[in-house]
Symmetry: C2
Subunit: 750 residues, 2 copies
């Protein structure tokens, strides 16, 4: 843990220069607009440890799989969102000395991520040998309104004497991914102009053009472009105490949205239009866009500024990572903050992010995430076919960019099949929240049929048990591999088949035309297939320990040595760094919610005492070595009324990156797990549920807080929930009157 970020309700602030934390801070101070993102790199030269990172959503490269021992069925490549041109580049020389915080003495330093307005602000003073102190300040953003625009205001002020400054603005497209499997360069040069460069990705052929406009009063720029490096440079004299400001506008256009031949013109236009609009006007647009985002989803915590800052950071990062404008995009575990995990899509999206976006950005945004999977259904069927399944069975990939599987660990790729369950559950969850059941007829049912077919083929009948079993799986707890009858997997498999069948009947009855289309397109025989599904779901082996009154994570779990986390010497932690893999596997320790993930999803199906017994049993054995783990425990702890435990779990997640708990920030932030922090407050403390077609709350207040309030978007309204020591107030900020259930009592809010 490393508490060095200054506490502030709306900003993330570094108030001095931490040379050892530059790379980690670059992750924290990342900005994005759903379409692209930029790490918090310095504009000017920095020769210390740094990871320059600029990412364009959907522009990826299929990097050849690197594996020690090939297993039949592995994908040929791992799709990676590419590190792309460094468009923020500004070089400053003062009397011939390059400004470089790694080399000069830093007198003062302030960096701030202004979450309210979506801006990255920075100012610092360095001592330049000779001319003395020089102050530099910058304001940077990627525009929410103009998704192809990045803008920078960069000011230089010599404090001690007049100086000769050489200032250049550049785009450097000679970029490599740090995580390239075979050190390949993924980009090829297409062409340049004095103020633009166009590149194309190898293999995938995505074209991108970066164009810039640089403005500085009374300065004349000289073009010094060379291949992949596009530069403009100017020399100015700046008097002591005088400030010269460079405005840089970068247009970044890709073939996702333009024809390749139009790229340069498009990018140039974005930059030119921005120049015409002017920086202040763009800034106003940005402030307005962010104000509108915050309006429907802010969370206010009273009496705990750190928690306040933590949850706003989570919301801010999620909102700038995904905006739902493009159904080809999704949410990578690191968002736009780093290269790790390749910017690809995991089941995190369905398990954690969809509930967040449903309540914060609304139905249309969440729906885009469902459509993303719908659009990949044929690839999922193909993926299953490669693994020996047939007749339209679909297995969604563990990791994907375009629907094809990218991951290459057999115990995950082939066996962590519960992901299919979350993809089906997300459809159910979406409909439950929005009431838009017709989504089934339009898109959902096809996906559900593919998934149900997979489960039906994946289960087999055990003569020994006289039950259906699902062998050789990895559950959400990845500290077990290749186990038999993972309770969560078996349970959600049955649920998927039941829900698919129920949905099929509903569509058949209510949308006969869609039904006919789907039935014929997917060769679906509701009677015959439905019979098989019912037979399986009616006789599935769901391991349990009757004596303990708990569901068993998998067959044989109780053969393990039963040690509790509290009795584990801390020198063993984290297990994944201290223990060899086999030791982790045969221990009873759990990486992240597994049985509890199922209980979380299906809270309405289990009595409270069952939830409590399972929670107590598994919580004691869970090491939470996944950022995705504590939130589920937090929600369930709140559910059984253990608010202290819920709070403890909440704390682990909400400031994970801000305080760099795991000292891995330099690889990027844990974007998808930030949604878990939001869940902990809204579904946990707030007790928000959407069962049975009505929004309900049963708020509890952690004793560490004076109060909290949150807003959620629900069926066209903004609902405001304010929890204080004296009680809960639920009100409507906008929209039609709504019936809600608060602490078990139904009422209508206006």
């Amino acid at each position: 843990m490393n508490k060095y970020i200054k506490t502030d309700p709306w900003s993330i602030i570094e108030d001095r220069f931490h040379p050892g934390r530059v790379r980690a801070a670059e992750s924290l101070f990342s900005i994005g607009n759903g379409a692209m993102g930029q790490r918090g790199n310095f504009e000017e030269t920095y020769t210390g440890e740094s990871l320059r990172g600029s990412y364009i959503g959907g522009v990826y490269y299929p990097d050849k799989t690197r594996v020690g021992w090939w297993k039949n069925g592995y994908p040929e490549y791992f799709a990676k969102v590419l590190n792309s041109a460094f468009w923020i580049g500004i070089g400053v020389k003062i009397n011939g000395v390059e400004i470089d915080l790694h080399k000069l003495t830093v007198v003062s330093f302030h960096r701030e991520l202004d979450m309210k307005r979506g801006l990255l602000l920075r100012s610092f003073t360095v001592e330049v040998p000779g001319p003395g102190r020089v102050e530099i300040s910058s304001t940077r953003f990627v525009s929410m309104e103009r998704t192809e625009l990045g803008a920078i205001r960069y000011s230089v002020t010599p404090l001690d004497s007049e100086v000769e400054a050489e200032i250049c603005s550049y785009i450097d497209a000679d970029v490599r991914n740090e995580d390239a499997n075979y050190n390949e360069k993924f980009w090829e040069f297409v062409g340049n102009t004095p103020r633009s460069v166009t590149m194309r990705t190898h293999k995938t052929g995505f074209g991108v053009c970066w164009a810039m406009e640089n403005v500085m009063e009374c300065a004349i720029f000289t073009d010094v472009t060379e291949g992949e490096l596009v530069r403009e440079s100017t020399k100015v004299t700046i008097g002591k105490g005088e400030t010269r400001t460079l405005y840089k506008y970068a247009g970044i256009c890709s073939t996702l949205n333009h024809r390749e031949k139009d790229l340069e013109q498009a990018a140039t236009k974005v930059a030119a239009d921005a120049r015409s609009a002017g920086f202040d006007s763009l800034l106003a647009e940005q402030e307005k866009a962010w104000a509108s985002k915050w309006a429907g989803c802010d969370i206010v915590i009273q009496g705990d500024d750190e928690a306040q800052q933590g949850i706003r950071y989570c919301i801010f990062m999620l909102l700038q990572t995904y905006t739902g404008k493009d159904s080809r995009l999704n949410i990578g575990p690191k968002g736009f903050t780093g290269e790790k995990y390749g910017g690809s899509t995991y089941w995190d999206t369905e398990a954690y992010c969809i509930p967040f976006y449903l309540s914060t950005e609304g139905q249309d945004v969440a729906r885009q995430l469902l459509i993303y999977r719908y659009n990949h259904l044929d690839e999922a069927i193909d993926n299953a076919r490669k693994l020996g399944f047939k007749d339209g069975a679909a297995l969604y990939p563990m990791v994907t960019m375009n629907g094809e599987e990218c991951h290459n660990e057999w115990e995950i790729t082939f066996e962590e099949i519960h992901r299919n369950g979350s993809i089906a559950f997300a459809i159910y969850n979406y409909i439950r929240y929005t009431g838009e059941r017709e989504y089934l007829a339009q898109y959902g049912l096809e996906v559900l049929i593919g998934i149900a077919r997979f489960w039906a083929q994946r289960a087999n009948f055990s003569e020994e048990k006289q039950k259906f079993v699902i062998l050789g799986v990895t559950g959400p707890n990845e500290y077990e591999n290749n186990v038999n009858n993972n309770w969560y997997t078996n349970y959600i498999a049955c649920w998927c088949m039941d829900y698919a069948l129920e949905s099929a009947h509903w569509v058949k009855e209510n949308y006969p035309n869609d039904w006919e289309r789907i039935r014929s397109k997917r060769s679906f025989d509701i009677t015959a297939e439905g019979d098989v599904w019912r037979q399986i779901t009616g006789n599935m082996h769901l391991p349990e320990d009757k004596e303990l009154g708990i569901f068993l994570q998998q067959d044989g779990y109780m053969d393990k040595e039963q040690v509790l986390v509290k009795d584990l010497d801390t020198s063993n932690r984290p297990l994944n760094q201290k223990w060899s893999w086999d030791r982790i596997l045969r221990s009873c320790f759990i990486k992240q919610a597994d049985v509890l993930q199922g209980i979380y999803y299906f809270q309405d199906k289990f009595p409270k005492d069952v939830i409590e017994r399972n929670f107590r049993f598994y919580e004691q054995r869970t090491v939470h070595e996944s950022s995705l783990s504590p939130c589920v425990h937090s929600v369930l702890a709140a559910r059984i009324g253990d608010i202290d435990k819920a709070y403890e779990m909440y704390l682990r997640a909400s400031r994970l990156d801000l305080d760099d708990y795991n000292r891995e920030n330099e690889e990027g932030c844990h974007i998808t797990s930030m949604a878990g922090s939001w869940l902990s407050i809204v579904e946990g403390f707030g007790g928000m549920r959407a069962d049975g077609g009505m929004l309900s709350f049963s708020p509890r207040l952690p004793r560490q807080w004076d109060g909290y309030s949150f807003k959620v978007i629900y069926r066209g309204r903004i609902v405001h929930v304010n929890v204080t020591k004296s009680g809960t107030d639920v009100s409507l900020e906008s929209g039609e009157p709504l019936a809600v259930n608060v602490d078990g009592k139904q009422r209508t809010i206006n």
Copy 2:
């Protein structure tokens, strides 16, 4: 399968040129002398598909691990025996045209591996545009007597006209491993002389010098050495029908046996001494050495020439791969025939090769293989320590060169721990066969203690079962990973602890000085540790199906869909190419003997009906997709009197490489599994056992054969067993009288 080798009792013969099979044939026609080996490459230029391969036992390189997803505990490198300088090189130009079988018309071609004498013979005629047909013949061997010497006789005869021939002899040390993980070159150049080159391996720093002497009557050689390429060249006129012969002697010396500064001198001396001795004299030495090898271990099969050729090939390859002269060496799965598996040591050595060498090369040779593991005990303890074990517990590596683990698949490296059992069993097996129980006091007991300690720590007590269990293992059947309570592993674990304790008591009683040394060196507490071991072995969970009367491969095995191999459509085979890994894992199909491996080892512990029931059950589910599988089934089938099944299994193994069953010869031959073919005959058909201190036989004759005979070395004698349709004759070829048991009757042979 590809039957293209001509059947012959003592030779492997290709009688025409197969351009598509050159690389595969290079593996088949490999020669070796225990210290080094050379693939059957052509001496002259060949521009077609080929893998030039020359290997020096013990000269390896730690190639940086390549892995997709790192697991804590993985080794940093994989040690590989290196492809080294191409010392056989001879270039021939006839009237300026290079002899290259890939480019010229081949009129006739004959290649023969003379197994009786240990020679590679080749002759061919090519059509050279212009001068017409030219005949070339070569004789090559690596000397069994002079282990640092390779020799070649190479003759050129123009058949149609007088020609100008340019003949050069070279050593090319610019060699790379085809299987390098990161395309690195493993060698660095040290220096050269006109007729020698010295290289050094990166990291490991092994030095090797290759020196040559070239002799051709009335020819003057010009040195044209350049860096890593050492060459001598001559031009001669050869009359029509006249033959010119080049004799090439190569001395190959490494720092395994010489100081680095002496290398050049040593290698030059080997070559010069050979030149002085002359080719015919060296050839005579070679013939004598091989005659002496064959004297104690030949197998003769009457009425089946293919089987005869097959088993002689197996014996020949094993004898030339390992000679027991150097306890630093061992037997790589591909021997000196290819790069795959890195020439490292696997449990194949203990499971299959030690019984072979015990009976064919004798006690001293087999003992070296035990010493090899004894010398690695501290590394095995260190290996276990890295995985969290303590107090001197030893886990021998899955794959090793110098005692350190090299493998990097968690399910194998960390979990295929039964290998420890085979290493203990080999000690028992050695003592049972040789009677040299004092080996325990000198070396064996320390190894047994380390192994027993490992098992004691690896087992845990299941409260649920009230039994000890061993969780998370991979058995010999690698088509199951991370299973609980693999019967074979649990059984051999108990056996190891029992045998270690029994051995400790024996050493304590009989060799008090050694006992004191071992007790103190290994901090061994026979009372306390022995109690723990007894407690575990007395209450171990050994899964079985009482109804079927069989041992269960692992917990949950009967939950699998029970399909028999015979009912599997052949389009599914081999499973490891046609099925994804998860599908293989959850199927009931078995790669190689697992429960049956245990029954094979401990045949004396199980009644025949138990052996038969288990054999019938598992045989029907075994796909034998390991070359090591059929032999164990063959021996057990013979044991239960099913000679037809035994013969079927024997056939699968014995000509695996000769007929290229799996079309993978080009990667090298299956050297270690060749020992299995020998086991099938001697322990299977011959029914040889060494239980209870007496050699016994219960020979059966497959109906396809008229008869067979084999020789084994046993306690200083050569025992000859001759089996015909009319009965078995067991006789002594040399040594003191011996009591043997034949078909249950004891007698003494003279």
